[in-house]
Structures are given as structure tokens and as C-alpha cells.
């Protein structure tokens, strides 16, 4: 793909639209806990704050490239072309969901749109991504696999084992380490040796002698350029890279963990709830990737204020319909549970 400076109006507008769609979708998920308690069960993790990182990364994809996110997976399928209705319906436990109500928020899967699966267990999806890249290498499909995982996940054995093996085998995979400064309730300064030493997490790449870069994950164009370079390198048979994309998640880790029938909602962000650090949270909000990209596009004359509003209205209408569809969809039949145990 071309450098971000060569991206035309259509692509840039598409990128802004996708970022708005992710934000609006996640807002609706969050609101569901208030407006329709019980409709979402278990644990849901939102991608608000990650929009630039997700869209900047996925904008570099070629047609058949695969994407393997973590359990914080709502945003990716929306960008890949999965019906937002089917994603919401899944989160709402519906038969019309993209996994027919079997997986839920943490386990979205839509192989038809290049997202094979998402694992709820930390780090394990990193290996699955490398495995998909191995298949691409053997079958010479030309695919690159995009692996997304959190800063916290880079402390799991699977991360080290997989990056080493991917480097040895020169697998066509791009590892995007999404550094949002937290693993659940734990601040990165409490658990990452690089962060404690004041070093970037991309330094971990050195352990495997592969390229490592840290990028401003609140700027979709910067993400685009870094991921694009890594993807082209992978496509050229030169092996994996590690991109550390730095952004902040605006919602807490997930909805509060409660035992039914105690209702659950999203509380305050951990910065405030656990660490009493309002300044950190306020600074992150002032650096909102969507607002920044909007201002950039208008400033650069790519879109007008009216164009931007039109996109935002369009997205709100779309998500109204998405919620309506999901709410009105039927639940699976109890006996459906017996399906899909074996292929």
C-alpha cells in the first residue's frame, strides 16, 4: 500500500467513518447495561480510544489478509465488513449473532470477513495468528496476518514463544501490541519491566532480532505508516515485526464483575477508580483520536464540517438500527447448544 500521505479522500473518509462507527458501537454496548440490564451477560470489553489504532492498522490490509484480535474484539469486524447488526446481536445473546449466541462479546468470529477467531485467554491468540501466517507461507497465499493483543498480554509465555518462532520461520505476521497503559486494573508501571525502566515496549522486538517500532496509536495515519511498512516487509517474505501502538482506553477494563442477579455496569476508569488519577484520564480524553482526526481532515481540506456531521449522523442512525435489530432478534433455542461440538 502507498504511504499515508498518498491516501485519497475516499480512503480517508472511510477511515474516519470506521473510527466513528467503532466509537458509536461501543457507546451503545455500554448504554445497553443501563438501558437494557441483563441483555449482555458475562464480561464485555470496549475499544473506545483504540479507534485510530484499529482503523490505521486495518487500512493497510490487502483483500485476503487475516485479523486475529484479543477478547477486546468488537471494533475489528466492524471495519472488516461484518454486519454491525450481527456483531451486536451476538453480544445480545441472539440467534442472529455472528456466532449464533455461542461466543458473545469476547469471542467474535467471522472467517468470511477474515476474522477467524478471538481468544479470551491472554496471549494465546498471538500463537494462532502466527499459525495462520504459517499456513499462508506454506500455501503461498500471499496473505499477511495481523495479530492484535494488549500490553499486558506481552507478559504471557505465548508471546515470547510465538515471536521467536515467527522470527525463525520468517512468518508473514504483524504483531500489533496495543499499549493502553493498563492490563485490567493494573497500571503498566506495576508490571512491565520496559515501562518501569522508561523504555518503549517495542524494545521487546530486540529479543527476537526483528524490527520493533513504537507509534502514536491515537493518529491513524502514523499507525498506518508503521503497520504498512511491517505488512509489506512480511509480504516480501522478510518475516514479522512488532509495532507498539500507544493509546488509551476510555472505558474501564470491562463491565463490573458481579454475580447474578446483581446488575452490572461500567464504572469509572481505573485511573480514577483505583489510582485516583483524574489528571491522567483528563489528559487522555483531551487527546481523543476521533476529535483529532476530524480536526485534521477538516484542516487539510479533505472534508468539510458539514461532511463530518453527515458521517456522524449516518453512524448514529446505523447504530440505532443495529440496537433495534439486536433487541428484536430471537434468542437461540436451548437445544441449539448441542450443535457444533464436533466438526
Amino acid at each position: 500500500m502507498a504511504a499515508s500521505s498518498e491516501l485519497g479522500k475516499d480512503k480517508l473518509t472511510w477511515m474516519y467513518t470506521q473510527m466513528c462507527r467503532i466509537r458509536e458501537f461501543e457507546e451503545r454496548v455500554k448504554r445497553t447495561f443501563v438501558e437494557h440490564p441483563g441483555v449482555i451477560r458475562g464480561h464485555a470489553h470496549l475499544g473506545d480510544g483504540a479507534e485510530a489504532s484499529i482503523v490505521g492498522s486495518l487500512a493497510t490490509r490487502h483483500e485476503n489478509d487475516l485479523v486475529m484480535p484479543s477478547y477486546r474484539c468488537h471494533g475489528y469486524p466492524l471495519v472488516l465488513g461484518t454486519s454491525a447488526k450481527a456483531v451486536m446481536a451476538e453480544i445480545y445473546q441472539r440467534k442472529t449473532g455472528v456466532c449464533k449466541g455461542f461466543g458473545g462479546s469476547m469471542h467474535l468470529a467471522d472467517p468470511a470477513h477474515h476474522l477467524p477467531t478471538a481468544s479470551g485467554i491472554i496471549g494465546q491468540g498471538i500463537a494462532h495468528a502466527a499459525g495462520a501466517a504459517y499456513a499462508a507461507q506454506v500455501k503461498k497465499t500471499g496473505q499477511v496476518v495481523y495479530s492484535f493483543f494488549g500490553d499486558g498480554s506481552s507478559k504471557q509465555g505465548a508471546f515470547y514463544e510465538t515471536l521467536n518462532m515467527a522470527a525463525v520461520w520468517k512468518l508473514p505476521v504483524v504483531f500489533v501490541l496495543e499499549n493502553n497503559e493498563y492490563q485490567a486494573y493494573t497500571h503498566i508501571k506495576l508490571e512491565d519491566a520496559n515501562a518501569i525502566a522508561g523504555d518503549p515496549l517495542s524494545q521487546k522486538a530486540k529479543a527476537f532480532s526483528i524490527p520493533g517500532a513504537t507509534v502514536d496509536g491515537t493518529d491513524p495515519l502514523k499507525v498506518y505508516d508503521a503497520v504498512n511498512e511491517a505488512a509489506e516487509r512480511a509480504r516480501a517474505g522478510k518475516g514479522p515485526s512488532l509495532i507498539e501502538s500507544k493509546f488509551y482506553r476510555f472505558s474501564p477494563h470491562g463491565n463490573a464483575i458481579t454475580v447474578p442477579p446483581v446488575p452490572t455496569q461500567f464504572q469509572e476508569h481505573e485511573a480514577i477508580e483505583v489510582y485516583g488519577n483524574k489528571a491522567e484520564f483528563a489528559a487522555a480524553q483531551a487527546n481523543d483520536p476521533i476529535k483529532k482526526f476530524r480536526a485534521h481532515l477538516i484542516g487539510a481540506g479533505v472534508v468539510t464540517e458539514a461532511d463530518a456531521k453527515k458521517i456522524e449522523d449516518f453512524v448514529r442512525t446505523e447504530m440505532d438500527e443495529v440496537v433495534k435489530f439486536a433487541l428484536e432478534s430471537p434468542l437461540p433455542a436451548p437445544e441449539d447448544a448441542l450443535n457444533y461440538v464436533y466438526a
Partner: protein, 326 residues
């Protein structure tokens, strides 16, 4: 005098009091002890109470090493499934080392984890994995069902000189129950009769005890007297108490949240078939999860898991079986 305590609180009190009693007890895990305001950090300091990265292999492996060098670590793992990424430490390191050293070392540590969260956590966070651990010689497995047992078994686990997997059921977290005053300890390997009865024995652990007691209550209204036995630890497993109960009732229903072949029920059924066959008036009946992963959507999740209704109808079926025979 008993005091009322929530299940989770009873566990925390046991850990706190054991840490006060024994300075070699340390406690660490992910997403705990994040600030100096944490009650454990305040009481015991940051040498003994620590936060860890998401590194289960290191967390449990370090506990094993520390245990061999004089500490008694408790590792907070949150969900039992998170142990699976480091299962070697649980089943092929901790319980093997003493034996392989010819009895020279001991590995006193507690792997504490919640399980069975049947609340929409879907396929990777709601399972029961005890079957894989209860048959490993050298490893002990506790599965409390009440606040009192939760406290007493945690105390016993910490004092035990062997590695213990301490499994607390998520669905019981905020249930309240009486806990005896003082240093309440529940010894491992001693089942508890949670309800006495004469017509049928129901054996269950953890959340399934609660469901079985509710079923027994319903059955009582219909004139059926069910005895509910809770083994409390799966390793060691108190088969004697179960067989004694079967001797009295002549019928056995086993309730287990795991799928049939991954259940503790299957093991207990085998033991009773060997040691209590002559007392049985009807075949043993197992009420387990159906043979699927745990689905996300509620109607499907309820369908695959044991329920009060399924327990009641299982009991009726073993009673009917006898009636037909006489």
C-alpha cells in the same frame, strides 16, 4: 457463637489470619495489591503481598521454588482456566517434586482460583477443570460450598505441607453463611452431610450443593427424604462417608457441573460401584453438564448445566426404578 460472612470474605479472613499467624505465608497474583491502600499490603507489606504480570507459568513456578526454600505462597489466579496456560506447574511440577526427590523436599503452596462462572462468561471462563487435578497423586483439591467450609479449608490449605488447588465457585461469592468463631479449620478428606435424609443420597460439591439442597427441599414437600453429602475436598476424597450414606439410603444421585466424562461424579460412581454395590437398590444416576463447551447465550447455558429440576427428576427416576423392582 457463629458470625455471618460472605463466602469471599471468609476466604479473605482465613488468608489474613494465617498470614498473621505465620510470617512465611506470602500472597500474590494479578490485579491485586495495586496500591498502598490495599488492605493486605497495609497489614503485611510489599515483601509478602505482591502484584504480578499476566504470567501464570512464572507465578506458579515461583511459588513452587519459594515453597522449597521456606515460604508458603498463596497464588491468586482468579479463574481456574488461567492455570491451564501453565498446567505443567500444577500437575507435573508441584505434586511431583517431593516424590521424585525421595521425600527430601516439600512444596507447601496454594493455587487459589475461582471456577464455574455460569453467568454468560462463555466457553473459556466458565468451566470445571478439577477432574484433571483430583487424580494427581501429591496434589490436593478443595471445593468449598459454604462460608464456613471456605474459611476452614483455606486455613487447612495454607497449613498443609503439600501443593493445594483451592477452587472457590464464582456463583457463591456473595452468599452469606455462618462461620464458627475462632480458628475454624476444616480438615481435608472429610465429607460433610449438608442435609440428612433416608431415601436417596445426593453427592455434590460447590455450587451444586446449593442446587442439590434446593432440590432436596422441593423433594421433601413431595415426601422424599434426600441426604446431601458434600465431599468438600476432591483429593483426598472421602469415599467412606459417601458409601455409609448409600448404605442407609440405597440410592445415589451424583450432581456435577462438569461434563460427564470430565466430572468428579464419574470417579465417585466408580468408587461406589466397587465399594457400595451391595447397598444399591437402583443404578447410580449422574446429573452433569451436557457434552458441550459452555455456550454464551442464557437459554443454551441453562440447558447444558445441571439444574434443580434435573436433580429432582433424577432422584425421582432412581426412586421409580426401585418401586418398579418391588
Amino acid at each position: 457463637m457463629a458470625r455471618e460472612m460472605m463466602f469471599a470474605e471468609a476466604i479473605a479472613v482465613a488468608i489474613t489470619e494465617e498470614m498473621q499467624r505465620d510470617p512465611s505465608v506470602v500472597f500474590y497474583g494479578q490485579n491485586m495489591a495495586m496500591t498502598d491502600r490495599d488492605p493486605f499490603v497495609r497489614k503485611f507489606g510489599k515483601d509478602r503481598v505482591r502484584i504480578t504480570p499476566i504470567s501464570e507459568t512464572a507465578e506458579m513456578g515461583i511459588a513452587i521454588g519459594a515453597a522449597m526454600n521456606g515460604l508458603r505462597p498463596i497464588v491468586e489466579l482468579y479463574m481456574a482456566e488461567f492455570m491451564l496456560v501453565a498446567f505443567d506447574e500444577v500437575i507435573n511440577e508441584a505434586p511431583r517434586l517431593r516424590y521424585m526427590s525421595g521425600g527430601q523436599v516439600k512444596v507447601p503452596c496454594v493455587f487459589k482460583a475461582g471456577f464455574g462462572f455460569a453467568a454468560g462468561w462463555a466457553g473459556q471462563h466458565s468451566n470445571c477443570t478439577y477432574h484433571a487435578m483430583m487424580g494427581i497423586p501429591g496434589l490436593k483439591v478443595a471445593v468449598p460450598s459454604t462460608s464456613a467450609d471456605a474459611m476452614g479449608l483455606m486455613r487447612a490449605a495454607i497449613r498443609d505441607d503439600n501443593p493445594v488447588v483451592y477452587l472457590h465457585h464464582y456463583m457463591l461469592t456473595i452468599d452469606k453463611g455462618p462461620v464458627p468463631e475462632g480458628e475454624h479449620i476444616v480438615p481435608f478428606g472429610v465429607a460433610d452431610i449438608k442435609r440428612e435424609g433416608t431415601d436417596v443420597t445426593i453427592v455434590a460439591t460447590a455450587w451444586m450443593v446449593k442446587k442439590s439442597l434446593a432440590a432436596a427441599e422441593q423433594l421433601a414437600k413431595e415426601g422424599v427424604s434426600a441426604e446431601v453429602v458434600d465431599p468438600r475436598t476432591l483429593a483426598p476424597l472421602d469415599i467412606d462417608t459417601i458409601v455409609e450414606s448409600v448404605k442407609k439410603t440405597g440410592r445415589l444421585v451424583l450432581v456435577d457441573q462438569a461434563p460427564r466424562h470430565a466430572s468428579a461424579a464419574a470417579v465417585i460412581a466408580g468408587e461406589v460401584a466397587e465399594h457400595g454395590f451391595e447397598y444399591l437398590k437402583a443404578p447410580i444416576k449422574m446429573v452433569t453438564a451436557l457434552n458441550t463447551s459452555v455456550p454464551y447465550s442464557e437459554p443454551m447455558e441453562s440447558y447444558v448445566l445441571p439444574s434443580e429440576e434435573k436433580i429432582v427428576s433424577a432422584v425421582k427416576s432412581v426412586l421409580a426404578r426401585h418401586a418398579a423392582a418391588v
